[in-house]
Amino acid sequence: MSADGMPLLNIADLKVHFPIYRGLLWRKTMGLVKAVDGVSVSVRRGEVLGLVGESGSGKSTLGRAVLGLNRPCGGSISYGGVDLLRLGKREFRPYRSKIQIIFQDPYSSLNPRMTVYDILSEPLRVHERLTRSEHRRRVSEMLDRVGLEEAHMNRYPHEFSGGQRQRIAIARAIIVRPDLIIADEPVSALDVSIQAQILNLLVDLQQSFQLTLIFISHDLAVVRHIADTVAVMYLGKIVESAPADRLYARPLNPYTQALISAVPSVDPATRARRIILKGQIPSPSDPPSGCHFHPRCPHAVDRCAREEPPPAEFAPGHHSACWFSEFPPS
């Protein structure tokens, strides 16, 4: 997991809001779901960024915005210096081969009517002009690379297990030699015994192809295994980001502290220190005032309800958005 320091992707103040409509004939906008609300994050070439958060925190929306699957209403996504949001459909096309996605559910991300060969050769057909035999060669090469056999080429997705399907989905993502992969909870739908295999495959491919990876997950233990840098999201905002080792050793934000304390541990001493959060994640259409986390925060004071804490750098590369991050409680 090496990163050479050059930012490949730079997301600045990104906002993705979804309007809520009411009424059948006269549609009225009733409110906004601020799925992603002012997120800034950058990923260096060859880096693995872990994006963590509860469901509804906007982590998937962020990933999908980079792919142009939903339209942000503000901010910028700069890829190698080019703002993707300013590109028209035609100009965006070349980037569609450079940025690829791996979805969570390998049962719905593969077309049941297409053979493995059709699925894997589709990105090649769209982005590269190749002869039939070259197609076959590339597909069988890639199948071998992800641990499947050439003989599987003419089969349909339903003939494979979940783990094998996810291997097909991974092969489809890297067959066009992309630079950036967005892995949206790629192992969450899989059996625990299979998760490790797929994670190892991803790490292996990331290293040998020098891929930049945005790994979206709600599982901190999984992210720790794979990420160089971790960003924690809560209600559409990044509340803390830091190099992985540092974040797990010294979390500064109370939300991150609570999340890390919830990771199951075999050590009884660690288990005792678990921080239990009150309530559930609030609706992103009606977020709490001030710091979005204050109604559930064990350390909240009056100021937290009034003013929103800006993200501040507390150590090199370690940002946290909390009024009290300087004095981490206990």
Binding site: L67, L69, R96, Q104, D105, R113, P123, V126, E149, A151
Partner: protein
């Protein structure tokens, strides 16, 4: 694990032939089509040869299906009628499938305002009495059999469009469609390579139901004098004729009715078989 390099079509054919009902349906349809094609060599009489002295006669050795009130041989008229009926049935269904599938898939996939406009157009066309529509088309483009096929196809696609649209809307939420979008696959390619093949089941089943519907509609239009002109015949016309003589000459409705039903059943069996054969998930190995 030994892998046979089978294409979807080869595999589908193999599975279709394992389904007895489908094979029966296919056989009956093939025989009917062959009879229709070779009618001029098979028909025992001319379709317009009258024998007024004989009149309506019950089935006999000379006229196995009997004769109508003008003394015309029913078997001959049914053979000739099958040419029109089958042609109308298949061509109009093909036309309606072409329009309906494209229209519905595009409408469902694009969604939003486009979908609204396209589907309201369908609603308006639904509200028009179909016969009115056919008459306009026939008057405008001239009265010919080909135009009759097209006109019938043009009114039958509405339901097909709605079925396909509904299926496409539920399918486009699937991640494989999003994956295709993210990959840069063009919109026509997404619609016709990813969406339509996944809707094939309902399309085929509905198409097999359209064939007999169209055959009956042709009878209605011919009855109004816009379609097939007497003394030419079609199954639909023979049936509407037969209904009038139900009490005294029941063979006039029995034979055309039986063959229309037989066609309907066969097509349904064949349609069911095709739907299963074309779905890779039903692969039995």
């Amino acid at each position: 694990m030994i892998e046979r390099g089978e294409s979807l079509w080869m595999d589908a054919r193999r599975r279709l032939f394992q389904n007895r009902a489908a094979v029966f349906g296919l056989a009956v349809v093939c025989v009917l089509v062959a009879l229709a094609i070779f009618t001029p060599y098979l028909a025992p009489y001319d379709y317009d040869r009258q024998d007024l002295a004989l009149g309506a006669a019950a089935p006999s050795a000379a006229h196995p299906f009997g004769t109508d009130s003008l003394g015309r041989d029913l078997l001959t008229r049914m053979l000739y009628g099958s040419r029109i009926s089958l042609l109308v049935g298949f061509l109009a269904t093909l036309v309606s499938m072409g329009i309906g599938v494209t229209y519905g898939a595009v409408s469902g996939y694009l969604g939003g305002r486009t979908d609204g406009i396209l589907m309201r157009t369908v609603d308006i066309l639904y509200a028009l009495p179909f016969i009115f529509f056919v008459i306009i088309l026939m008057v405008y483009f001239g009265r010919s059999l080909v135009n009759l096929f097209i006109a019938l196809g043009c009114i039958q696609w509405l339901t097909m469009a709605r079925i396909v649209r509904g299926q496409v809307i539920s399918l486009k939420q699937k991640e494989f469609v999003e994956a295709a979008v993210a990959m840069g696959v063009s919109t026509p390619s997404i619609v016709f390579r990813h969406l339509v093949p996944n809707v094939l089941g309902p399309i085929i089943v509905y198409a097999t139901l359209t064939v007999p519907t169209v055959m009956l509609e042709e009878a209605f239009i011919s009855f109004l004098g816009l379609g097939v002109q007497p003394p030419m015949s079609s199954w639909g016309l023979l049936m509407s004729d037969g209904v009038k003589h139900l009490e005294l000459e029941p063979w006039l409705i029995l034979f055309p009715g039986f063959f229309l039903s037989l066609t309907l059943f066969s097509l349904n069996f064949l349609g069911d078989g095709l739907r299963d054969a074309l779905d890779p998930r039903y692969r039995s190995d």
